[in-house]
């Protein structure tokens, strides 16, 4: 039997999904479009950002929205030296858990910074809005140091 060739082929598995958001996610995205950030009150009173639809502890449906600030504090972060193609930046940046003012639960988003030294736990950051907001999580383009 002759040796077969090894056959490689690049392919893309892709689709643009059309997601319906439901009222909670929809409200958050609607507010983002208006350059405003809202959280939701959990059953124990904690303010969760972005808002969750159901309380993790009691499984209750949540509905009490609360405005939160556009600035906050870095709780933890990862410095990405070699951004991947899917990442929001093509130069080094950080993913961070950010506790917004008025929130009790950190949200995960990206932080733009010139170097790793410019990011630290406890640092204050503020939301930077995309030029055009469309009602998508990336309406917050990134956070940057205050």
């Amino acid at each position: 039997m002759s040796q077969p060739d090894v056959l490689h082929q690049a392919f893309e598995l892709g689709f643009t999904y059309t997601r319906s958001t439901g009222p909670v996610v929809g409200r958050f995205l609607t507010e983002l479009k208006q350059r405003n950030i809202v959280g939701i009150k959990g059953s124990d009173g904690r303010v969760i950002v972005p808002p969750m639809e159901y309380d993790p502890d009691t499984a209750e449906e949540l509905s009490e929205f609360v405005d939160v600030g556009q600035e906050g504090e870095i709780v933890s972060y990862a410095w990405v030296k070699e951004p991947r193609e899917a990442h929001p930046f093509d130069k080094p940046f950080a993913w961070a858990m950010i506790l917004l003012d008025g929130a009790d639960v950190p949200m995960i988003h990206c932080v733009a910074a010139d170097s790793e030294d410019a990011v630290s736990t406890g640092a204050r950051v503020k939301a930077v809005w995309a030029e055009e907001t469309i009602g998508f999580i990336t309406d917050i383009r990134c956070f940057e140091r205050v």
Binding site: H87, M97, V105
Partner: protein, 356 residues
Amino acid sequence: MKEIAIVGYQQSDAVSDAGACNEVELIIPVISKVYDQVGIKNAQDVDFVCSGSCDYLQGAAFAFVMGVDALGAVPPIKESHVEMDAAWALYESMLKIRMGHADSALIYGFGKSSPGELPIVLSQQLDPYYLAPQWVDTISLAAMQARLMLDKGLISEQDMAEVVSRSRRNALNNPHAQLAGDVSVQDVLAQETYVSPLRKADICPVSDGASAMVICTVEKAKEWGLPYAVISGIDHCIETHNPGMRDLTDSVSTRKAAENAGVHNGAVDVAELYAPFSHQEIILARALGLGDATSVNPSGGVLAGNLMMASGLSRIGEVFNRIVSGEAQRGVAHATSGPCLQHNLVTVIEQAKEAA
């Protein structure tokens, strides 16, 4: 409740690229070995078959359907599949045996992660409105978890490097390992960070491969005349999907599963933990209450090779191997799923009473 025995376990080498190898070609060599080990001809000789796999690893729907072509399922067999690590296929199989609908089961897991960009592929496990559209990769999530621990003084970089060093050295005795070597703590710490605070060495490699196991009732194991170990406890538990709502420095679900599985009912000689990142091994060892008397990841663990969808089953297999060889009398195996140890399964495996 029926006692369930493990009588066979085999795995492929963990390789960075299995190359020209489809699902069937990945599975057949491994299940053939486990048939030989147990002395059966094929899947017809067990009462139930259950597998674990994930379509997105190589981007083709219905990977497990092709897997059935490896089984010789003519005449038809009792068979099922979880889109999870095969450790959960083991769990499902145990329920089948306990309810009396099977005396024996073949379990296998397989994955070819090399064709895709795994940390990005797995970002699509996150919630589809807030996190998945940002493409937050699994390594970055784990890096944030590690930093929380470092910042709180719960671990040091030295501790993490010690995990890596031990894994690489232990893997020298594991013929299936992808990464093995005499790597010192200093060697690891000398590496630059990659996704800070993680170094490349803190992160499990991307591997292709498969593993397989046969379990049965203790009566059946005796009938087959095979050395066996007994699963004395098993439980699993999931946590909220919002990483911000979890205490990422602990694994409360592992703690709870360990309690329910009876980890603390005896000494733990050996533990195999599914920790894809070095700091997670420390979280898990603490959640399981393991002390110095326990040999942790003697196989090298998944830092030495991570067979996605099979690694959890492999942890159980590794503990089984050490018990039937007499190296250990009682051990704990752990499997995980989801970002930052969201979902955890704990199994306690013990020497058969006759052997004790």
